[in-house]
């Protein structure tokens, strides 16, 4: 997450670094104050620390070693560090790259697929998070709390599935149609809370949460009916989308990373441009920050609310499409897992900025793919990564706590308040 710092530092200079001060002094100043980058970085450190404590207290070998702290302190620490090193090492190897596999591939010239599998899997699981996170963040930065990610994701995936198996066209036409169907499905799901809020004032938080259930059960129902259900099957699974509707692999069939990643990054870049540069994006921000001012300036708040929820829903719908057309190819009950809710977390972590969302998604995806390998190879349960994620989010959401724990200096007012401001404050 520290990669955010170079991009953000010039925008909001810290409480005056003396002009012409040496670079190292400005650096020291930067890392000792509670700015956005440091809080996020230290939240990650805090998450890993809490995770480390849990590993120690739940692993019999380390517990035993701590029991011998008085008699063999050296052993206590060596066992602890070895256990933690194995677990967090596996987290890295499973999500980024395995040094031993890399060495083997370099010396033998074979097994390159295996070398890149972990990073490919991380990118695959980051793809829907980037799309959904960007969608949710777009709503949040406009003061619209879209908690309906799960429903919009299912709606997008449903629409993409129907187009995926129902339409027969060459890939150049079919694939864009599948992508658009995903966006359209999500947009429809976003339109419902939008129009309800604009017309009746129904709060979008309630409506979107409830719509999650509606789409969940709609999916379960449709999966038992034709033409969605796979013929001659009693499982609740759908027909598979045809190959022309699938997102092609980027680096050959051995790695699952696919065109969806490029789509997601393009969407994030587009969203960034939209919010910073476009007239509509500016209107959204103004209305989000101060609806009365927006109205005074002649902006249509109702129209904006509907549009924001539709755009937000469309992006989340594309997340549903990306898993479907990229890796799964068919729907089943429980499709999407927790992606819709993780998107909220990622938006929070990325402070509602597309770049932040991309980085947050990569972190979350790396934790979950690495966690899988960690459990498979060291026996530390993957649930540990959920705890790490939760601690990170908790600490990012409470910057004052991080400041206290790590004894950071207070940042300039704009810097730390910016986070809450992003939520429409």
């Amino acid at each position: 997450m520290s990669a955010t710092s170079p991009a953000e530092a010039p925008e909001r200079p810290a409480a005056p670094p003396p002009a012409g001060a040496p670079a190292w002094r400005r650096f020291v100043r930067f890392v000792t104050e509670a700015n956005v980058a440091m809080v996020t970085l230290l939240a990650v450190v805090g998450g890993l620390f809490v995770g480390a404590i849990l590993i120690v207290v739940t692993t019999p070998a380390t517990l035993h070693a701590w029991g011998e702290l008085g008699s063999h302190p050296g052993r206590t620490f060596s066992v602890t560090f070895q256990t933690l090193g194995n677990a967090y090492g596996a987290l890295f190897v499973g999500s980024v790259i395995s040094p031993s596999a890399l060495g083997h591939a370099i010396s033998s010239g074979q097994g390159w697929t295996g070398v890149f599998t972990p990073i490919s899997e991380t990118l695959v699981s980051a793809t829907p998070l980037i799309l959904a996170g960007t969608g949710v963040a777009l709503g949040f930065s406009t003061g619209v709390f879209n908690i309906g990610g799960q429903g919009q994701l299912i709606a997008g995936a449903l629409a993409a599935t129907y187009v995926g198996f129902g339409v027969h066209a060459p890939i150049g036409i079919h694939l864009p149609l599948v992508i658009l169907a995903g966006a359209a499905g999500g947009a429809v799901a976003g339109f419902i809370p939008g129009i309800l809020k604009a017309r009746t004032g129904a709060h979008e938080v309630i409506v979107t949460i409830m719509l999650n259930y509606i789409f969940l059960y709609l999916l379960e129902y449709l999966l038992t009916t034709q033409p969605l259900q796979k013929p001659n099957q009693s499982n609740s699974i759908s027909r598979s989308i045809s190959s022309t509707g699938q997102l092609p692999h980027l680096f050959g069939s051995g790695l699952r990373v696919n065109l969806g990643l490029i789509v997601a990054l393009a969407v994030a870049a587009g969203a960034s441009w939209f919010m910073r540069r476009s007239t509509l994006g500016f209107q959204f921000k103004v209305i989000g920050a101060n609806p009365a001012a927006g109205r005074t300036a002649g902006m249509d708040a109702r129209r904006a609310t509907i549009l924001v929820l539709m755009i937000s829903g469309a992006l989340v719908g594309m997340a549903g499409m990306s898993t479907l057309a990229g890796t799964d190819f068919f729907l089943s009950t429980g499709y999407g897992g927790n992606t819709g809710f993780n998107a909220i977390t990622v938006a929070l972590l990325g402070r509602n900025r597309p770049l932040g969302v991309v980085l947050g998604s990569l972190l979350f995806a790396a934790l979950s793919t690495g966690g899988r390998y960690m459990q498979a190879s060291t026996g530390v349960p993957i649930d540990l990564t959920s705890v790490i994620q939760a601690v990170i989010v908790f600490m990012v959401a409470t910057p004052a706590l991080v400041r206290e724990i790590f004894r950071l200096r207070e940042a300039g007012a704009g810097k730390i308040l910016l986070f809450t401001k992003g939520w429409g404050g």
């Binding site: 949040f140 709390f145 499982n235 101060n290 009365a292 799964d328 649930d383 939520w423």
Partner: protein
């Protein structure tokens, strides 16, 4: 909000701020809950010391003969006290039987994780991969086709045509559920018994088919009028032999105990005094409701012997309608480790003890001897194929 607030800007904006702060904190809570969502069972599984022992033995075992057995759970997780847990128990049994055999599991938190979990284990060079549940059929088949030398066994599914490297484990649980239904009807004082399922899929409804058939059979031979609530089998599914399509009560969830509690309460409100949940860990919620309802309300547990897997509710369980996942999984793993593994399908029946009623435990003295004798005869008749298990071959009360 947008129509009623023309003038009072200051008031409005303050109210708006409060709403936003409230909403923002709600979001934070929701987000924290969302990431913590999967962690429900977290440190219970960390406490599964057997797992660490297994990992340790994996390390020491690498030098000598080494065989690794791996399980990918479905979304119910390793502590579901049902089929995921039973399959894991099967791995433990196999590890006791075969020196140098170690075992591991990976939990799937969503259906999208089935394929990567299986692939992770293929990368870990597992000697056999056990996949658990009907829902994993597609992912298992895809992986098995892509890796023809990798051995698999899948609980609750059979492939037709059978695959060479996959052993499908299916259980004719309508046979023991028939006995369970008969017993439930015999024990009911209210004349109503009820069942509900986790999901409308054959491995679940086949229990309910047999159970409802057993109740109706009881009525027929004893001229009684016990009503089975919660499942109305209609017509045979044209695939997955022996299972019926129909209408019934389903939680559509195998983890949320609150849903099980609600469904059990609904059934009891309609007069049922014996409840048979077919929904894995969701049944624990039903047990809580039955306990709350007090004397005269009982239940039957499913998949495993409830007095072993959920001993806190043992006093409520008349019996358990079990399927021999533990034995069949351990047999498959041992065969793979000894090099005698064959793909194809395994059918668990009353005849080969692949399915059975558990011991009666606390009900051993409460069940009339006449009923026990009838169950014994009935079991022999089912094995000899002299009783129809088709619920619709008997009139419904």
């Amino acid at each position: 909000m947008s129509t009623s607030d023309h003038g009072a800007h200051r008031k409005r904006s303050r109210a708006g701020l409060t709403t936003r702060v409230a909403a923002a904190s709600a979001v934070v809570v929701a987000a924290t809950a969302a990431v913590g969502f999967g962690a429900g069972s977290s440190f219970a599984s960390a406490k599964a010391t057997a797992h660490h022992r297994a990992t340790a033995s994996a390390r020491s075992g690498r030098a000598k003969s080494h065989f690794l057995a791996c399980e990918v759970t479905d979304t119910g997780g390793i502590n579901d006290r049902s089929f995921n847990a039973s399959a894991y128990q099967g791995l433990k049994v196999a590890a006791k039987a075969i020196p140098g055999l170690s075992y591991k599991y990976l939990q799937s938190n969503s259906t999208s994780e089935y394929a990567p979990n299986i692939n992770t284990f293929i990368g870990e060079k597992c000697g056999i991969i056990i996949t658990v549940g009907f829902d994993m059929a597609q992912a298992t088949q895809t992986a098995a086709k892509a890796h023809p030398s990798q051995k698999f066994a899948i609980v609750d599914y059979s492939y037709s045509p059978a695959m060479k490297n996959v052993l499908g484990l299916v259980y004719h649980t309508n046979q023991d559920a028939f006995l369970g239904g008969y017993l439930a009807a015999a024990m009911s004082k209210s004349g109503k018994v009820g069942t509900f399922g986790g999901q409308d899929i054959p491995p679940v409804t086949i229990y309910m088919d047999g159970w409802v058939a057993g109740v109706r059979y009881y009525d027929k031979v004893n001229h009684a009028h016990v009503v089975a609530l919660g499942w109305t089998p209609a017509k045979k599914r044209n695939f997955a032999s022996g299972s019926f399509a129909g209408n019934g009560l389903f939680t559509n969830d195998f983890t949320n105990q609150a849903l099980g509690k609600t469904d059990a309460q609904t059934l009891m409100a309609e007069g049922a005094d014996v409840i048979f949940p077919v929904a894995g860990a969701v049944g624990l919620g039903a047990a809580a409701a039955v306990k709350q309802a007090g004397a005269g309300h009982y239940m039957e547990w499913v998949d495993t012997d409830g007095c072993v897997s959920a001993p806190q509710y043992c006093s409520l369980f008349i019996t358990s309608v079990t399927k021999g996942i533990v034995a069949s999984v351990s047999t498959a793993v041992e065969a793979a480790a000894r090099g005698t593994f064959h793909g194809g399908n395994y059918n668990g029946t009353l005849a080969n003890n692949g399915v059975s009623l558990s011991p009666f435990h606390t009900f051993a003295h409460k069940i009339p001897a006449k009923v026990k004798a009838a169950l014994k005869t009935l079991k022999a008749k089912i094995i000899a194929n002299k009783v129809s298990l088709d619920p619709n071959s008997y009139p419904a009360s």
